[in-house]
Symmetry: C2
Subunit: 224 residues, 2 copies
Amino acid sequence: MPSTPHGNAAKSRSRQRARKAGSPQQAPMRTLDLLGALTTFARNGVIFSEGQPAECVYKIESGCVRTYAMPQTGERQLVAFHVPGDCFALEGGDVHMMSAEATTDSTIRVIKRKALMARKNDAGMMRHLLDLTGAELRRTQRHNMLLLKGAQERVIGFILEIKERGHSDGEIALDMTRRDIADYLGLTIETVSRTLSRLEAESAISLPTPWRIVLHDPAALNLQ
Amino acid sequence: MPSTPHGNAAKSRSRQRARKAGSPQQAPMRTLDLLGALTTFARNGVIFSEGQPAECVYKIESGCVRTYAMPQTGERQLVAFHVPGDCFALEGGDVHMMSAEATTDSTIRVIKRKALMARKNDAGMMRHLLDLTGAELRRTQRHNMLLLKGAQERVIGFILEIKERGHSDGEIALDMTRRDIADYLGLTIETVSRTLSRLEAESAISLPTPWRIVLHDPAALNLQ
DNA sequence: CGTCACATTGAACCTCTTCAAGCGCCGTGG
DNA sequence: CCACGGCGCTTGAAGAGGTTCAATGTGACG
C-alpha cells in the first residue's frame, strides 16, 4: 500500500513511503548534510508557517513539500513543490513569507541558520548556499514563465517539470493532489482534471490511476 | 523633456535621464561596486540575449531593465523589472535563460563573473552575493503569487510593487510601456489600460499622463 | 457496507482576450 | 508653419477560455 496523497490522513500519519524510498539521486555528501538534524513529517504535516521567524533552512531527503501563501482574502497560492535533493527557505528575511507542508510523508534535514551563520567566514559554505539559492531562483523564474501561458501549456509544463525533477522515465508518480496542482498552476481542479483527460483522449498521456501519469509522446508535449 | 518610454526611439538614443538621476538609495559603498565597469544603455538597448554564455552579473545605477524569455512559439514573457540598486543575472547557469534590455536610458555596472570567481574564497563577497540572490528570489516569489490572482489584483500589485521599489511617495513614474506591463502581468495591453481607467474612474488613482500614476487611497488598494 | 476524501464530467456564466476603430503626442518633411 | 505618419494608449463590441455550480464516480478505510 503505497503512500499516496489519496490515503486517509489520520492513518497516513504512521506510514512509511514504499515507492522511491531511500536516498535518491543526491550528491555524495554535501556540506549541509553535516549540520542538519533529520526529521520526519507526516502527510499534511506543518514544517513552518507564514509569519513565523525564519530560523532554519531545509533539505529534503525523501517525500515532497509544498510552500504556499494564504492571503486573508483570497485563495491559497502555491509557490513551489520541493522534491528530494532540493533545499527550501533559502530566500532569507526575518520571517517566513510562506508556509511549508509535506504533501506526503517526508524526511527532511533541518538546519539551523545560526549554525550556518556561525560559518559565515567559510567561503565554501557560503558558495554552496549561493549555488542552491541560484538553483531555486532559476526554478522560480521558470515557474513564472509557465504562469504566463494558457491552461493546457501550464499542465504540460507541470508534467514535464515533475518528470525532470523526479528523474522519472516514462511513468510519473504524483505526490500531490489535484488541489495542490491547481493552486500551483493558478487554475481550478476542474480545469486540471479536464486538461489531463483531454491529453489522455488525444493519446499524449495515459492515467492508469489519478496519481500516475504515463507519457506516450514526450516530443508532442514539448511542442505545445 | 524627460526620458520616458514614449519618446521617439531613434532620438532617445542620445538623451539623458532628467528625472531621478544620480545615485538613489543605495548603501554607502558595497563590495560589488569596486569590481564593475559602468556602462550606459539607450532605451531598448540589448544588455544580453537568451542563449548567450552568462559571463557577467549586473547592478543598476540608474534607469530600468526588463528581463524576458521569447519562446519560438508564443508571446514574450517578461520575468522581471529591475530598478536602481537591483542586481540581475544572479541565477547562475552557463547560458542565459532570458534576455535583458533597458526600458529607458540606463547606467549599469557590469561585473565579470571571472572577477567574482577569482574571489570565491572571499566569504564576505560570497555572502554578499548570497544576500542579493536571496532578495531576487523573494521578489520572484512575490511576483509568482501575483500571477495567481485576477487582472485587477495584478495591476494593483504591480502599482504597489513599483511604488515600493522606486521609493515613490504619492506619485509613481512609469519607466515602461503598457506592453511591458502587460507581458509582465500575463495580461493584454487592453486589459491593463482598461483596469487603470477603471481604477481612475473609482477615484483610487489618477493618471495625469499615461506614464504617471498618482495614488489617492493606497489603503483601499491594499485591501483588494 | 457505509463513509469520506478526492477525482471526474456537464452546463451556465463570467472574465479576459481578440478584433477593430479612434485619439493624442511628437518628430518630420513638404 | 502646418500636415502627415508613426507610435503608444484608450475604448467598444464580439468571442473564447476558464470558472463556478452541481452531480456523479471511485478507491480506501473502518
